[in-house]
């Protein structure tokens, strides 16, 4: 029988850390996984920005592998099943990318390599630096003698010069393996869990360097049939490294990016410099080993121009896909309107003309026939427009089906709208989506909260993606033992 770790974890609110109690090894009947159970006792507000249900929804969305079961007060249990059984690869540790460092960091990093030759230091100390890159660096101004010189013999001036040349030289984008993205496919499945989706579009951008750090932006836009209204602003769900951002929405880079897009051109109503309106949920996830937050509580991503532009691009891509559905709807409404106009106004027009001109009944019948012919032609044109729009949409869906982004198991298969971003020139080796690692995102920040964790750790190295800017686990993570990845057990106790 496999073994797993079971423990009770208490949250020390004052020190903001978990305290592990009653740790023990138990039998475990599953190959891997984590199970976290906790009870929240306190004054809780449920709906709206920064409220519990929004937090749970957000967590559900960006963790397709998560199975969530909860009960609010005396209400019935709510169970949300996982939509992805694919075991996410835990990202391997990745060397830093040369473009992600500032000069001081570059020199400090070099200090770790002592007598190593400068060229070797670049190749072994950084990712995306190869022999070919070294040749490019020499071509761009680094003396060949410097490449062979030991790092500890180089002057600050030489480092400065080398740093500038590296900055100017085009390198491959940083590896996506270093970040835990949700992935388009998983995001597309996961968004269906939030409610009755009319249609949606998801976009996962390739990694980009923003403010010297690798960043991946993922966006899911969905229109719901059973939430929100045409007059209300869209619901914006923000995520930083899979953690829902609950507060201070106005100052966040994600909000700034959403407001900067002209959504009217995609068919969504929007007042100037504000969020668009409609029964939509916009989910924007920013993933990076180094997210710059605006405040110590890590609730707001700093709105630097580069990051806002990157998020904006992702939103615009998703908006373009969304607009195909909206445009088709408009065409449909147009046809409906035209047909109803013919039926409604045609006879009234003819009757009025006959009454005023005092024409006979025979003329009336003839005029009605003529009118039908005329307006029928227009309706046929509108029908042709609609079928054109439908053909285009079907072609797009076929393309996506080939890419594996349509799900026959879902009743909403027609609604899926997603596209792999191919407008970046990034090296394609890192396109594999890492999905979700078995990490608890339970954020037990309520007084008196305790959690019991049963965990079977993994033999694979834990995702050390540099300085991950935000630990998502306030409950518990790895500790011990053997074998392969672990999945949770039912045997956890509740305090």
């Amino acid at each position: 029988m496999r073994k797993a770790v079971q423990a009770i974890v208490d949250v020390d609110i004052k020190q903001n850390r978990g305290v592990v109690k009653s740790k023990e090894m138990i039998d475990w009947d599953r190959p891997h996984g984590v199970r976290v159970e906790f009870r929240i006792d306190g004054r809780i507000q449920l709906n709206g920005d920064g409220r519990l249900l929004t937090y749970l929804e957000g967590t559900t969305l960006v963790n397709p592998h998560l199975k969530l079961k909860y009960r609010l007060n005396e209400a019935d249990w709510v169970s949300i099943d996982r939509v992805s059984d694919v075991l996410p690869d835990v990202p391997p540790a990745t060397l830093p990318h040369p473009h992600t460092m500032k000069l001081g960091e570059f020199i400090t990093h070099a200090g770790l390599f002592g007598k190593t030759e400068f060229g070797k230091f670049l190749k072994t100390g950084f990712s995306r630096v190869s022999d070919l890159t070294l040749k490019d660096l020499v071509k761009n101004g680094i003396p060949k003698s410097m490449i062979d010189a030991p790092v500890n013999k180089l002057s600050e001036e030489q480092f400065k010069n080398a740093f500038q040349v590296i900055g100017k030289t085009e390198l491959q984008s940083p590896s996506t393996r270093s970040v835990l993205t949700v992935g388009e496919e998983s995001l597309a499945k996961s968004i269906l869990r939030l409610g009755d989706v009319d249609f949606f579009s998801v976009v996962a951008r390739k990694p980009r360097i923003c403010d010297f750090k690798p960043v991946v932006v993922e966006v899911a836009l969905a229109r719901f049939l059973n939430r929100g209204s045409e007059d209300e602003s869209i619901q914006l769900l923000r995520f930083a490294n899979r953690v829902p951002l609950q507060f201070d929405k106005g100052a966040c880079a994600i909000t700034a990016a959403v407001e900067s897009v002209n959504w009217r051109s995609y068919g969504l109503p929007q007042s100037k410099d504000s969020l668009p309106s409609g029964p939509y949920v916009f989910a924007v996830s920013v993933v990076s080993p180094f997210i710059k937050f605006k405040n110590a509580s890590k609730e707001t991503i700093d709105a630097s121009d580069e990051l806002v532009e990157e998020i904006r691009r992702a939103l615009m891509q998703a908006g373009q896909k969304l607009s195909r559905h909206i445009r088709r709807e408009n065409k449909e409404a147009d046809l409906e309107r035209k047909i109803s106009h013919i039926e409604q106004f045609g006879p009234i027009l003819v009757d009025g003309l006959v009454r005023i001109s005092g024409a006979k009944e025979s003329r009336k019948i003839k005029a009605q026939e003529g009118l039908k012919k005329l307006l029928g032609r227009d309706a046929r044109d509108a029908e042709a427009d609609l079928s054109d729009a439908e053909v285009k949409l079907a072609a797009l869906k076929e393309k996506q089906a080939k890419a594996g982004l349509l799900f026959s198991t879902s009743s909403k298969e027609d609604a899926v709208e997603s596209e792999v971003d191919d407008d970046l020139d990034d090296g394609g080796e890192d396109e594999e989506q890492t999905g979700a690692a078995a990490r608890g995102t339970g954020k037990a920040a309520v007084k008196g909260t305790t959690a019991k964790v049963v965990e079977k750790p993994t033999a694979k190295p834990v995702a050390t993606t540099g300085k991950e800017a935000r630990g998502t686990d306030k409950v518990a993570t790895t500790t011990t033992t053997t074998g392969k990845d672990a999945r949770g057990t039912d045997k956890s106790a509740r305090k």
């Binding site: 009234i348 027009l349 009757d351 009025g352 003309l353 005023i356 001109s357 005329l374 307006l375």
Partner: protein, 405 residues
């Protein structure tokens, strides 16, 4: 019902024209062709101004409405409204636009087949009535549709108005016998004949009705042989037609006094003098081309040290007014005409200085003297008249008083 007095001698037989129009539309439908309705395009880009004519006239541009699925609603509504108006013309009944909106609603309520035609609001029915007028090239008054009376309160000790009533009886109104009550022209056409008991020196139209009342209460009409009229903002058709009547029948110099701001110059004064782009087909009878702008002029601000306000560009109405002034300079043929150079210079001054000055600011010149404003106005008028006399012609700058030259 009373016979309705007409504004002009109309050569058109409106009911006949309407029947012919409907008959031709029906004929087109029988042939499965698309009937077309055409109307004069009433907009600035189809407006022309010739100072010799004196008002904005329409160009050749037409608005064409061809029957298709998008326009079938409008066409059905036009025919529906034509039927309502035709019934009014035949019975002699008259209505306001609002009443016509409710008449339409009443018809729709009684006939479920017409439900689709129902107007959501008065703006929708107004647009159809305006289109009918532009299409037939007739005034709304000629369709027995009249507006409410607004503005034009007139005071004079010399003016006598004789009104010929529909039954051909005469009603004589001596304005000097009305006491403190003004004579108010109606938006409904009136057959009026004007006579002056003594030679009238000038006619002054004041933008603010309140200020006109104050001038009269302080004795202006007793001291001067004049007509004082309150415009009450943008002059209504009644006021414009009344000014035209005074100009034509009495041939007295006419002056306009209003605020120094873009709205007054381009909306109030321009409409009084040359009509508006929205009513191109009616400007001939509803404008007074001889009216002169007396002020407030930019030079008055300096000369009398008048209090000004800065235009608040954050206020949407004021910002819009400034933008419209810029547009007027670029697109309005009235302000582009060289005869109106002085007026366009006023707009340029307003855009540049972003200031506005109210007509009441003249009351700050000599607060102890209740007649100070009157004296300034009379001085400006006399200076203008002398200047014009000296030239033995009209002011070189058409439309702007010469006071201050």
């Amino acid at each position: 019902m009373d016979k309705v007095i007409r504004i002009r001698k109309l050569t058109k037989d409106i009911p006949k024209e309407v029947r012919l129009l409907c008959d031709s539309m029906l004929e087109e439908l029988e042939k499965a062709n698309r009937p077309v309705l055409e109307a004069v395009k009433c907009s600035l880009d189809n407006s022309f101004y010739n100072p010799k004519v004196g008002y904005l006239t329409p160009g050749d541009k037409r608005v064409r409405t061809e029957l298709n699925v998008s326009s079938v609603q409008k066409m059905a509504r036009v025919v529906f409204m034509l039927e309502v108006l035709l019934a009014n013309l035949q019975s002699g009944a008259v209505n306001t636009k609002r009443e016509l909106c409710y008449i339409s609603k009443g018809k729709v309520k009684r006939d479920p087949k017409l439900k689709a035609l129902d107007f959501a609001g008065q703006d929708e029915s107004d647009a159809i009535i305006d289109f009918v007028g532009d299409m037939l090239e007739v005034y709304r008054e000629e369709l027995n549709c009249f507006a409410n009376d607004r503005g034009g309160q007139t005071y004079s000790q010399q003016l006598v108005v004789t009104e010929t009533l529909p039954d051909d009886s005469k009603a004589v109104v001596d304005l000097s016998a009305l006491g403190t009550t003004p004579f108010q022209p109606k938006n409904k056409p009136q057959a009026l004949t004007l006579k002056a008991k003594k030679k009238i020196e000038f006619c002054l139209v004041v933008e603010s009705e309140g200020t006109a009342g104050s001038l009269v209460a302080n004795g202006m009409t007793r001291r001067h042989n004049c007509i004082v009229m309150g415009a009450q903002g943008v002059p209504s058709n009644g006021v414009r037609g009344w000014c035209k009547l005074i100009q034509e029948q009495l041939k007295v110099p006419m002056f306009f006094c209003g605020d120094l701001d873009a709205y007054t110059v381009q909306n109030i004064y321009r409409t009084l003098k040359a009509g508006s782009a929205a009513s191109l087909i009616r400007n001939a009878d509803f404008s007074a081309p001889d009216v002169h702008f007396l002020g407030v002029l930019p030079e008055d601000v300096k000369k009398y040290d008048l209090d000004c306000y800065n235009v608040n560009e954050r206020d949407p109405a004021e910002a819009r007014s400034l933008k419209k002034a810029k547009d007027a300079l670029q697109n309005d043929p009235f302000f582009q005409d060289k005869k109106n150079r002085k007026l366009s210079q006023i707009l340029e001054w307003l855009i540049k200085n972003k200031k506005r000055c109210e007509q009441q600011a003249f009351y700050a010149v000599d607060p102890k003297d209740p007649q100070a404003f009157e004296k300034i106005l009379v001085d400006k008028i006399r200076a203008d008249l002398i200047f014009r006399k000296s030239l033995s012609c009209r002011s070189p700058m058409e439309g702007v008083g010469c006071a201050g030259h």
